[in-house]
Symmetry: C2
DNA sequence: TCAAAAGTGTTTCACTTACACCCATGA
DNA sequence: TCATGGGTGTAAGTGAAACACTTTTGA
């Protein structure tokens, strides 16, 4: 009954509640940035050795939201910039014992993601799509969301669904800002949209759309680099990343 | 540990999983139709006497979807035309004992709703907003969604959230058809939208929009009545009521 | 001075909105 | 015949898409 590294570990035959999280972040390397997510390697029996979503058992004295934050922090050390409940998965055969998983999905700012895990994996890359586990935090690693290996339980389907929700939500909310640091250029923001949606966007039209949306605050600073300097913007925190209706009062 | 009439009944101090459903239907009386939903009166201690959402405990051998259908049928005898998971509610203090509620929301066709419950309540109306319980199905009754009494647990918030989701989804999906019988006129369909959205829609523009959406199949039949007969349509079942992404393969 | 990204202007097109108008029926 | 909802036509408005164009920097 002790909290496990990932959600589903059998005990007795009562149905138990686990909480897991799909955390997306953006890795900027090579040409275009790619969506990545942290996984945890299972160290006990159901699906031992396979990678799984970070999570753990719901504690009796905490809310679902709190459990998502806690288990995410315990297993990966990460603190997301956006966290939202995704879905409750409860197929009978999804685990040897009966487990209902309340799954959250989250976004991590690019600066927060690079510190904890990615930096420590540089010295032992042993696969095309994955980096070696970061030793300090047990068996964790970042994976390309577009080419995952076979995961434990029904976690492949869960990630697919989370990706679908992310792509949907990017179309009608300002959620993409959750993947960027405080200051960013319009090209940065556009790259986020492009890598999530999987298609190029017209820079001119993109600029007008976000400028008219009222979510950006221009700063006086510029990013100087190869060509004409680009103005840096910051996110207008008065605007919610996503409209959540009556649920936004909780939290 | 026997299934209860509504979801949250205490037993011991382990966290348990309940499944409840917010079922919307449309009552066509007076001038404009109103959204109604069935509630169940609690017959035991936490919140005894108050009305609550129909639901019950998750059985160890059934999926969440199946549990929603089963408990809905057991408590109200209703079979919805649309069923979708709404949210998992798990605040620590939402019930005396620890209960995580997986809440679904559903739509009921107007013809299905009128048979079971409404007809039997005509003889004993004792409140402005509610009808007396239908005797054959214990303590159940239909309520106007816009003016609910105080409900058990956090069920008022849950209904608010379900209403928000319904209104949202009506804007970008064909879900409103789930409230109508097989054949309907464009005025019928427009009334559904109007009563959910709470505003009038231009009949001419509404007609063009749904005609161009490809979701309607015109029949040769007409509804004759007061004025010019209106063509009857039926729903094109090749089109999903709502896009659900990777989740639509389950079920 | 040249390549390339930053940023502006303009046209086109699709779709919504508003509303005038005709059609068909029961009373 | 007339009131009323069913159904069609059409012009204005809005915003996205496409793309030509100017600006500003590093090399």
């Amino acid at each position: 009954m002790t909290p496990a590294q990932t959600a589903e570990d059998a005990a007795d035959d009562v149905t138990r509640v686990a909480v897991s999280t799909v955390i997306f972040s953006l890795r900027r390397e090579s040409d275009s940035p790619t969506l990545v997510l942290p996984l945890v390697r299972r160290t006990r029996d159901p699906y031992e050795g396979l990678w799984a979503l970070p999570g753990g058992w719901l504690d009796g004295a905490e809310s679902l939201d709190a459990a998502a934050s806690r288990t995410l922090s315990e297993t990966t050390g990460l603190a997301p910039s956006y966290l939202e409940q995704l879905y409750a998965f409860g197929a009978v055969d999804r685990s040897p014992s009966r487990v209902v998983s309340i799954v959250y999905w989250a976004l991590l700012r690019a600066d927060a993601a690079s510190t904890e895990l990615i930096d420590r994996t540089k010295d032992a890359p042993d696969s095309a799509t994955r980096n070696a586990p970061a030793s300090a935090l047990e068996n964790t690693g970042w994976f390309d969301a577009a080419s995952l290996p076979r995961l434990a339980f029904d976690h492949n389907e869960i990630v697919d669904y989370a990706l679908w929700r992310l792509r949907n939500k990017v179309g009608y909310s300002r959620i993409a800002h959750g993947l960027l640091a405080d200051e960013f250029t319009l090209a940065d923001l556009r790259e986020v949209y492009e890598s999530i949606l999987g298609r190029r966007l017209d820079p001119a039209n993109f600029r007008r759309q976000v400028e008219n949306s009222g979510t950006l605050i221009p700063t006086d600073r510029f990013r100087t680099g190869s060509h004409r300097p680009a103005r840096l913007y910051r996110y207008n925190r008065d605007v919610e990343l996503a409209e959540r209706g009556p649920l936004s009062v909780r939290h």
